[in-house]
């Protein structure tokens, strides 16, 4: 099976984020990592390849720094990578990002495309499903298990409140992967070494420009959310805080 995995670089989980001057995005001088569900999507692609053979290709859209997530994917076992490289890709809406990906892979023939189920930055939860529609392929979202079946695949979709559902579909197809579907591997030293010699194709914004258009939605303003609840902050040494908290548990919250 030939699998394309879409991976995105996002700010590290505990990176302190600050608004930019125009208040429409963050200041980008922070540390980055791979979007967590995308790491699970990559892992799943590698496991499918180990079971059924084939090829795993990682793709990302972002500035030069985003190459890091592709290098990591290659080090973990992806065979090659595609980098849509331009700072302009950061500001694309989900529709445009999907259109850019579709344009970049128009000469390829994949059996499956995996994405994480949503990104930690925008959190659209849309790019994978849009890509499926653009490709004319079936899709399923929030996937927790993938098996080959007669003429296609059988996947386990997560539903709300602990419910699940199996869905069968023909290939090619797009799946958005949920965190926790598998256990992530670490890159080995040999893997990291080998990654340096693996092919990494770069695609410029100009090359896909004709396939995308103006964004269909726009962030007018970004800001720190207003607090609506009155919160009492307890301060002091750990011992003092413990005393104050027990006092609250006893006299106000009344559980002691």
């Amino acid at each position: 099976m030939k699998i394309l995995v879409c991976v995105k670089q996002v700010p590290q989980k505990d990176a302190p984020l600050k608004l930019n001057e125009s208040g429409t995005w963050i200041r980008e001088d922070v540390s980055y990592e791979v979007n967590e569900p995308d790491a699970f999507a990559l892992e799943e692609a590698l496991r499918q390849k180990e079971k059924h053979g084939g090829e795993v290709v990682a793709i990302t859209a972002g500035p030069a720094r985003a190459q890091q997530v592709l290098r990591e994917a290659l080090a973990k076992g992806a065979d090659r990578a595609i980098h849509l490289e331009d700072p302009g890709f950061v500001g694309l809406d989900a529709f445009n990002t999907a259109r850019a990906f579709a344009a970049a892979i128009k000469d390829e023939k994949f059996d499956l495309i995996f994405t994480g189920l949503q990104s930690d930055d925008y959190g659209f939860a849309q790019t994978g499903v849009i890509l499926a529609d653009l490709m004319g392929w079936p899709h399923a979202t929030i996937i927790m298990q993938i098996e080959k079946s007669d003429g296609g695949i059988k996947v386990k979709r997560e539903l709300e409140a602990g419910y699940f559902q199996f869905v069968e579909m023909p290939l090619p197809a797009v799946l958005t992967i949920q965190s926790g579907i598998n256990k992530l591997r670490y890159a080995t030293l040999i893997g990291i070494k080998q990654a340096k010699n693996k092919p990494l194709r770069k695609v410029t914004l100009a090359e896909v420009q004709s396939a995308i258009g103006a964004n269909l939605q726009k962030i007018e303003r970004m800001y720190i959310p207003q607090k609506t609840k009155k919160t009492e902050y307890l301060e002091g040494s750990p011992g003092e805080i413990a005393k104050k908290l027990v006092d609250k548990l006893r006299n106000e919250i009344r559980v002691l």
Partner: protein, 331 residues
């Protein structure tokens, strides 16, 4: 003719998903702000009873959009059916709840119509000049909020987060709204996926819904062996231990102790969150708690937005003396 807002409700096996009332409340609020007409729809096969239920609320009209192909949910059938329906009605704004089902098909539907979805919104507002309608959504896992405008032609698609509006505040109409059954044609070959029955993984061994005190651990606990510390606190308090999803994904605690949209929904007297950031998927499972106490080292963690009592600090410094103080208070 005024513009219309169409709320697409969600039903499963003939029962309305109650989050639909929240979306209807959102529609009513936007209608009163804009003067636009509010209509609602329910999708399925033989769903006029649900349409009648919705028609009791304050809306101008309710549609039952029907086809045998819509009996069981598939993204192919739902987007094909809705595309047909929306193309014939041309609403300005289409609202849906941000459920697992909606997020499975709405990006496809919008793409098929050349439109865009502002997903997972928590509110709306008019911009300063009173012209543009803006939709507010969380960014960076709730660390920021953003006001987003749509730059394309109608229909505009917007989904609202669970809990963004109060379902119990939905207004009842003076008289029942008219119900129209609309039959849509969905050719068999449109539907490429074959869904099987919905099921629950395993019998739940613990029922946290009745617990009065819950100590819940998140990724801030760092290592599996540290779970013991949280257990000691739960024991001292006489409460249950629970966790955020990554803890259960890692197998550090069993799945049936997971709180959140894909886990249990609880409403204890005390919910004590240790090293939990407060992602919305976690919050929906515990926001009904009477009191929330959060201990987190990051003063900007979104959990503090819903906490009654906040401790900004390292849980490994605070929990040990807390266990001692609780024991003292109890003895």
């Amino acid at each position: 003719m005024p513009e219309t807002i169409l709320v697409v409700t969600e039903q499963r096996e003939g029962k309305l998903n109650r989050v639909s009332w929240e979306t209807l409340a959102a529609g009513q609020a936007i209608a009163s702000e804009t003067g636009w007409t509010l209509e609602a729809a329910v999708i399925g096969d033989g769903v006029s009873a649900i349409a009648n239920e919705i028609a009791a609320k304050k809306t101008a009209k309710v549609y039952a959009v029907e086809s045998p192909a819509l009996k069981t949910y598939t993204p192919d059938a739902f987007s094909a059916g809705l595309k047909q329906f929306l193309t014939s009605r041309q609403p300005k704004l289409v609202l849906m709840p941000h459920t697992y089902q909606v997020r499975d098909f709405i990006p496809k539907l919008a793409t098929a119509m050349g439109r865009s979805v502002v997903s997972d919104c928590i509110g709306f507002r008019k911009d300063k000049d009173g012209g543009k309608l803006l939709f507010t959504r969380q960014m960076f896992q709730g660390k920021f909020a953003a006001d987003v405008s749509l730059q394309c032609d109608a229909p505009w698609f917007v989904t609202f987060q669970n809990g963004a509006f109060r379902g119990d505040k939905v207004e009842t109409g003076a008289s029942a709204a008219p119900v129209e059954v609309v039959k849509v044609e969905i050719p068999a070959e449109t539907v490429r996926t074959k869904p099987q029955e919905v099921f629950k993984e395993a019998k739940q061994a613990v029922d946290l819904t009745q617990a009065e005190i819950i100590v819940s651990v998140g990724r801030g606990i760092k290592e599996q062996k540290n779970i013991e510390l949280a257990k000691q606190l739960a024991d001292a308090l006489g409460g249950e231990i629970a966790a955020s999803r990554p803890i259960c994904d890692s197998g550090w605690l069993p799945m049936d102790r997971q709180i959140g949209s894909s886990g249990q929904t609880v409403a204890p007297k005390l919910y004590l969150a240790l090293g939990i950031s407060g992602a919305i998927q976690h919050i929906v499972g515990m926001k009904g708690a009477r009191s929330v106490v959060a201990i987190n080292k990051d003063h900007e963690a979104p959990i503090f937005e819903i906490a009654d009592v906040a401790v900004v600090g390292n849980l490994f410094d605070i929990v040990p003396p807390l266990i001692e103080e609780v024991k003292k208070a109890k003895s």
